[in-house]
């Protein structure tokens, strides 16, 4: 039995120790906002926060999350995420949208650590893959949410 916290609620799961958190969220808890993209921590579609740190859930075994707090895209009440979500709509960022949960979680972690990132900070922190090519708008939206002027 694995006990941890997801978006403020305690969960108990009777699954294998090595089941990745991604699949515990998607298939066991029915929370499909977190996406499967590659399974090898390369694309970032599965990004969630574990105790506030952006983490690729597809390679994070459930046993390693015991007792910790997991925040997913479905979590509410995070003011930074809310600000980013508003900026995402303002800049019309998503296209297919599949990578955007991961993008938003990565951006939330970035702004929590660094409230006014430069373009180069964004390049370093936002390593998620988007095949639709929304990068330019992701960058602009992060700057907007940070209260700064977009790009330079």
């Amino acid at each position: 039995m694995h006990t941890f916290n997801v978006n403020g609620k305690a969960v108990n799961l009777d699954v294998e120790d090595d089941m990745p958190l991604l699949w515990a969220l998607r298939d066991e808890l029915g929370m499909t906002g977190t996406k499967f993209g590659c399974g090898v921590a390369a694309c970032g579609a599965c990004t969630v926060h574990i105790d506030g740190v952006a983490t690729r859930s597809c390679v994070m075994p459930v046993v390693a999350v015991a007792g910790k707090s997991v925040q997913t895209i479905e979590g509410q009440g995070d003011p930074i995420l809310a600000k980013l979500q508003a900026a995402w709509v303002e800049h019309q960022v998503p296209q297919c949208g599949y990578c955007q949960s991961g993008m938003l979680m990565a951006a939330t972690a970035l702004l929590r650590q660094n409230p006014h990132p430069t373009d180069s900070d964004i390049d370093d922190a936002m390593t998620n893959i988007c095949r639709c090519g929304t990068y330019q708008r992701v960058r602009a939206a992060i700057h907007t949410a940070a209260g700064a002027k977009g790009g330079q």
Partner: protein, 757 residues
């Protein structure tokens, strides 16, 4: 308008091709005409629920005032869930806030009649009789086949007339209903913001109040469309309806489908193309936690379990043997050698034969010669391939994030051995399509698996590795050019021979093997046979080799490699005759004013010719595809062999613009897609199989590579062109040409690799 001046020999061959298609279209169709009037449909096409009233097959009005628009195209990021309703609502004069969309069922009125226009060889500014007959014939064929498919940058081109007509006639019916109630002339009433008004008395009724009696009115004939100066939506940057759900995790993609009692399936397909499973041993896998069944289907071995991760873990424990093939040792080098041989040995099919290029080359003072290569590419959409299916007796239900709803339904029925009427299809959002989701292999597999599961629903999900190694790839291509420079120092002849597998043949063969014929394929040579430059002699030929690597449509199809080839070679010619690459192109575009304006816009906005920081250079490229014309200028630097693209200025003429913000987003998107291919994209074959497996080995553009993209829309009133693909072809040559300007290294092969000493 312009039509190309071709010598009779060229025309007769093309005429033969077109006549064949036209006759084919005619035979299929009988008298069915896909006119906008015939495509209005009724509530039989777009079923009503919860008190909704359908005014035709495209729009329903709810008692609470909600306006529901049918969208038969698949949303894969191109904004179609917003742009199609914009067309209808503009003419309906409903309030945009009241609009909601519903995925249309499969029905003939929803067929994509513009898709097949992409398979005939006519340019956007070709208005000749032959071009018009061929276009109309292709529209009929799409309609006759009920081809409900999203692809070929055709959604707006198809919807432009029928959706506006659906809105305009529905408005007419609402006005007539009101006029009847008030006993006044319909012509004296107006509709705006969801209300019909009789201005003389100030009488008002909402669309919701009028819907029921409006539905009983006759469909008005000859309703005029709005004057474009009155547009409130078309041409405006309307916010997309699907975006909020894509910021909070609630958007439902195919892979997110969850059903009561649903099982999960993972598949292992033979790594060598064309190989099959000969035997498998699932003894240990079957005992693993959660495993329900291990089965073999045509395409491989499948583990079904109560969670996808368990299915995948167990699959790794299944020992599988595969049959050998005659290409177990095939490599990319072998394929390239085969193409080079074909280039030598085969004369090829002449797609364009203007003047006499052969003679001109013989008489030339100088001949410039070059050969280019582009590799196989994977689509690598972010949402791995998946499909949910349930087979209960004769009832089949599928959930597929597909670009091809009508084909998915047909295939599901075929595999389950039921009538298509027995198949219910749901099309959730697509996590990227790029042409991969035109294919229906995942539907065939999911239904085959579901048949074995006693009525339980099953979700098949491929791993990223399966997705990369079992794609229908963008074909590799080898292209040879010769240009004749006369004694006057001008280029007189352009001769091009292209070797690449036929996508048309491959696609039809997968769908209907009996109907497949390896005939001349426009998609293979598109963008090469129809270069806009006005040389006196042009010869463009195609050779279509047979290779066991499966190929399919990849964003911009043949244009994706032909733009790199032709726009690199024209750049070579500019230098060969000692001219500026922009000025040279411009001087050859006298017969194509639209191309000229686009090229000029990109160059001027980019500041062509103005100084750049040291170590940065510009390259330019122009390409027409999918009814639109796009030019790009890339600013590039090279540091220790690594290419950095700083800025891309993009000019696009896509005719009438529906949503300019979507056009801008699609240019950014297409440029990133093409840049990923230009800088990194390469699928290689060794031992008959694909060597790459996931993103680390099939790399793509990340945030840190992202150039600043500026889009400039060239506005005019020509019919709408496509926007999903036309931005992809020019980026590779624009970057490669900038590299030449900077380093004098001519990039002749993709992905770009620099020799640096």
């Amino acid at each position: 308008m312009m039509s190309r001046s071709l010598k009779p020999a060229g025309i007769s061959r093309r005429q033969f091709l077109i006549a064949g298609t036209a006759v084919g279209g005619g035979l299929l169709v009988g008298c069915a005409s896909p006119s906008p009037e015939n495509r209005l449909g009724s509530k039989a096409d777009f079923p009503e629920a919860n008190g909704e009233i359908a005014l035709n097959g495209w729009v329903k009005i709810s008692p609470d005032g909600k306006v529901t628009v049918a969208v038969p195209r698949s949303e894969m990021g191109q904004g179609v869930l917003t742009s199609l309703p914009m067309l209808l609502v503009e003419e309906l004069d409903a309030r945009w806030e009241d609009v909601t969309v519903e995925q249309a069922p499969v029905a003939r009125i929803y067929a994509n009649t513009a898709l097949l226009i992409n398979v005939i060889p006519f340019g956007v500014d070709d208005d000749s009789l032959m071009a018009r007959v061929a276009r109309s014939s292709m529209q009929r064929m799409g309609y006759a086949l009920s081809l409900q498919v999203t692809g070929g940058s055709s959604s707006i081109r198809d919807a432009w007339e029928p959706l506006r007509l659906a809105g305009a006639t529905a408005r007419g019916m609402l006005i007539r209903a009101a006029a009847q109630k008030w006993k006044v002339r319909a012509d004296d009433c107006i509709a705006e913001n969801g209300v019909v008004i009789y201005p003389d008395t100030g009488h008002k009724m909402t669309f919701a109040e009028l819907a029921k009696s409006a539905a009983e009115q006759e469909v008005p004939r000859d309703v005029p469309f709005k004057d474009p100066s009155k547009y409130k939506l078309i041409g405006k940057p309307v916010k997309r309806l699907d975006i909020p759900s894509k910021t909070n995790g609630s958007a439902q993609f195919g892979i997110d489908t969850r059903l009561d009692g649903m099982l999960y399936a993972a598949i292992a397909q033979p790594p060598v193309f064309g190989s099959t499973v000969t035997s498998f041993d699932a003894a240990s896998a079957s005992k693993m936690r959660g495993v329900v069944k291990v089965i073999q289907i045509r395409d491989g071995v499948v583990v079904v379990a109560n969670s996808w991760w368990r299915a995948k873990q167990a699959l790794a424990e299944v020992k599988i043997s595969y049959s050998s093939t005659d290409h177990d040792k095939l490599s990319t080098a072998d394929i390239r050698k085969q193409f080079e041989q074909a280039l030598q040995d085969q004369s090829g099919f002449g797609f364009t034969n203007k003047g006499d290029a052969k003679d001109a080359l013989k008489d030339a003072a100088k001949v410039i010669e070059s050969t280019y290569w582009a590799p196989y590419l994977a689509h690598a959409a972010m949402e791995p391939i998946n499909c949910v299916a349930q087979v209960q007796g004769k009832k089949v239900e599928i959930w597929a994030s597909t670009q091809s709803p009508s084909l998915a339904k047909w295939k599901a029925a075929q595999v389950a051995d039921v009538d298509t009427d027995q198949v219910t299809l749901h099309v959730p959002l697509l996590g990227g399509g790029f042409g991969r989701r035109l294919e229906i292999d995942m539907v065939e597999q999911a239904v085959a698996i579901a048949k074995e599961l006693d009525g339980k629903p099953v979700k098949l999900v491929w791993t990223r590795e399966e997705d990369t190694q079992h794609d229908m790839y963008r074909p590799a291509a080898l292209s040879h050019f010769q240009a004749a420079i006369g004694k006057d120092g001008r280029v007189s002849a352009w001769s091009n021979k292209l070797v690449a597998q036929s996508i048309g043949y491959a696609s039809v063969k997968r769908l209907m093997p009996m109907a497949a014929a390896d005939t001349p394929d426009k998609n293979q040579i598109e963008g090469a046979f129809d270069i806009p430059y006005g040389f006196e002699h042009i010869s463009v030929k195609q050779v279509r080799p047979q290779v066991p690597v499966p190929v399919g449509s990849w964003r911009s199809v043949g244009h994706s490699y032909n733009a790199f080839f032709t726009e690199s070679f024209i750049d070579e010619l500019a230098y060969a005759v000692g001219q500026d690459p922009y000025a040279y192109r411009k001087s050859l575009l006298n017969e194509h004013p639209r191309h000229r304006i686009v090229l000029q816009t990109a160059a001027e906005k980019a500041g062509w010719g103005k100084p750049l920081p040291p170590g940065v250079a510009r390259g330019i490229a122009l390409h027409e595809s999918f009814g639109s014309i796009c030019a790009q200028v890339a600013e590039v630097s090279v540091f220790e062999g690594a290419v950095k693209v700083h800025r891309v200025v993009c000019a696009i003429d896509c005719g009438i613009v529906v949503n300019p913000d979507t056009v801008e987003a699609q240019m950014q998107s297409s440029i990133v897609f093409g840049l990923s291919a230009a800088l990194f994209g390469e699928i290689t074959i060794a031992d008959g199989r694909v060597e790459q497996s996931s993103f680390p080995s099939y790399d793509v553009v990340h945030m840190s590579h992202m150039p600043k993209v500026e889009t400039h829309i060239v506005r005019n009133t020509h019919a709408p062109g496509g926007v999903g693909e036309p931005g992809t072809p020019p980026i590779a040559p624009a970057v490669a040409n900038a590299i030449y300007a900077l380093t004098k290294q001519r990039i002749k092969s993709l992905p770009i690799r620099l020799n640096h000493a």
